[in-house]
Symmetry: C2
Subunit: 387 residues, 2 copies
């Protein structure tokens, strides 16, 4: 199989402290060789032979971003709800139903085309792995359809039938939970790797959420939880208790929540663009990191609370407003996301990892925060192929 070398890399982020300096395993003046879709060697600049050579010209190369939390398959937008919120309206989970109506009306091809356009945008922003949740179908057929379409784009599909109680079940939410854990799960599971629940006032309470997650586990799915987004709640500790791979949002954490995360393998996934777009306070990331929990950052790309595909933007917010160091935030958007998906083949530039690389129009990863808002991703290589 033909080999390619990305040579003359000024700052290479491997995310392997054994290969280079610091948390990010930084190697200066490096070269990365890949064969097909796999990395085969890290060398010093100018020392690797390969069939094809890409000259990084001293730029920074890092692992492709791993976006472990999105809701990419949807139709319609909610710009007017956003405008109202910026003028003072509150964010509540109920807005999800607006997107549900538009998504149900869209044809398969429309949803494919919308999803594809969003993924093109996110690849241009350096994202090479994207988790996609359902949750705008909310019927047996529509949830299965969403996951089938999501599965055309990613292996990381998540069944989120328990996103919000749909309008026709408003008076009997427990019947909806029975549907989710019964027929809907049955139809969705063949297309899903994960199950997720929005554990929040206005969505699902602790008992309902636990029922959903345990049904998913029994069906062989991995577990993720929307937890503690809009106020303190039981989501984080429930996530830890059922062995979730990730508790997502974590905007409102008590000391007990932080302690639970730190003592577990559940990743704390921050979604700062959602806090930005809903004017929530930013979570205190330092407390979580210093307690020893693993942290990820994801875009939460969705039309209601966080309509962005920019991991760089999320990283910049995490540094400025959540007081993460730049190294911590870059790790959270790459290897942190991989850990939240329980993947060891992505989020790092090491031999045998997937050849997912991003080249910045900058000499170091610091520029992702130092140059906020500037689209610095110059090239994205996914599975060895430039996108």
């Amino acid at each position: 199989m033909p080999t390619t070398v990305v040579d003359n890399i000024g700052t290479l982020i491997t995310n392997d402290p054994g290969l280079g300096e610091g948390l990010l395993g930084i190697v200066s003046d490096a070269a990365v060789v890949f064969e097909g879709d796999r990395i085969v060697a890290i060398e010093s600049a100018g020392n690797a032979d390969a069939d094809e050579r890409i000259d990084a010209g001293g730029r920074c190369v890092l692992p492709g971003f791993v976006d472990s939390h999105t809701h990419m398959v949807f139709a319609g937008d909610r710009a007017s709800e956003f405008v109202a919120r910026m003028a003072g309206a509150d964010y509540e989970a109920g807005g999800i139903r607006v997107t549900t109506a538009a998504t149900r009306e869209a044809s398969d091809d429309e949803l494919r085309s919308l999803t594809s356009a969003r993924l093109t945008e996110s690849a241009r922003a350096g994202i090479t792995t994207t988790e996609i949740k359902s949750g705008y179908g909310l019927t047996v057929d529509e949830e299965a359809r969403t996951l089938r379409i999501a599965g055309e784009f990613t292996e990381e599909t998540t069944f989120l039938g328990a996103h919000v109680v749909p309008a026709d079940y408003a008076d009997r939410p427990d019947d909806y939970v029975k549907l989710v854990t019964g027929d809907m799960l049955g139809a969705a599971a063949p297309y899903a790797r994960w199950i997720d629940v929005f554990c929040e006032e206005g969505a699902f309470d602790a008992d309902q959420s636990r029922a959903v997650l345990e049904a998913g586990l029994a069906a062989g799915l991995g577990v993720r939880v929307h937890a503690n987004q809009l106020r303190p709640g039981p989501g984080v500790q429930l996530a830890v208790d059922v062995g979730a791979a990730s508790a997502d949002h974590c905007t409102y954490l008590t000391g007990a929540d932080v302690e639970a995360l730190a003592g577990s393998s559940t990743v704390c996934t921050f979604l700062p663009a959602a806090d930005f777009s809903t004017r929530q306070p930013y979570p205190d990331a330092r407390r979580v990191i210093e307690a020893g929990a693993t942290v990820a950052i994801a875009t939460n790309c969705n039309p209601g609370s966080s309509y962005t595909t920019s991991m760089s933007f999320c990283i910049a917010l995490a540094v400025r407003d959540m007081h993460m160091t730049i190294d911590e935030a870059v790790a959270a958007g790459t290897i942190g996301g991989a850990t939240a998906l329980r993947r060891t083949d992505i989020g790092r530039i090491t031999p045998e990892a997937k050849a997912d690389l991003v080249m910045l129009e900058a000499p170091s990863h610091h520029h992702l925060v130092y140059r906020p808002g500037v689209p610095l991703v110059a090239r994205t290589i996914r599975a060895g192929i430039e996108v």
Copy 2:
């Protein structure tokens, strides 16, 4: 001269309330005709003839952004100072001297090439007019050189010899003010439209600042002021008192400052990316707007406190964190910037205005904030030519 029509515009922002709805003078389903570098007509979609036709496909078109405050001509970067600041160090004006050393060492061609690359980046982000300040030369020859080079790229050049007291004048700042108002002004004035001063503790006090501005006025230059960036101070009221076109930063405003701005023709120019990058609190824009002052937003692109070319990012911060409405923030980044430069030919899409247009990959300007961090500018037309 050949004519061009941008047709099938979903949302056209004219910035003329006489032409359309609201503050932004929005016209739906519109077409814009330009001839050479001037706009000649606003029509309804499908109703204009021209030699060339650009189909906007229902997208949003707005006036090119007017970036009324930058320091684009410099060499070097200050990423390590930024990293230290994000880890807790304070921002102080003295860091300017680091860039001064690098800029003095750079050749004319190096400075040209660096400036050109930054302006390419900013044009891609939709900026069609850029003010550029000197202030990293700080000697007679170096300030004149910076302005000569800046003048190759823009008419909006600003002499900022009074950016900081250079190290060799640290013990005798008044001698430096004499130099600035004497020989340096003499050498700089032929290349400058404006004069500016950094009126701030650690830079220049009220008396020194007034001396600089009055010398500039006497030399025929217009006046702008760096005011109230890091703490309350005399800058804003001094700006109003000398009839400055703009008081820039305005992060710390007293009631008297707001009153002075509201009763004047001095534009209050916010630089939210600087507040972002120095972790300053964001100014209370509502108070200024409700008092009746004219407001602009600019990037403040510079290597110390705000290394961005993204007006969209600044607009998003102004809405999220300064509580401007999206319409107000878009106006501030277009016609507000034009007013801060005392220009009536830019920042609007009206007959006789310059053909400076931006097309978004979005149906409305709301998406500039609704989709934070996403590079939404699809096409930029400056003086009738696509860039």
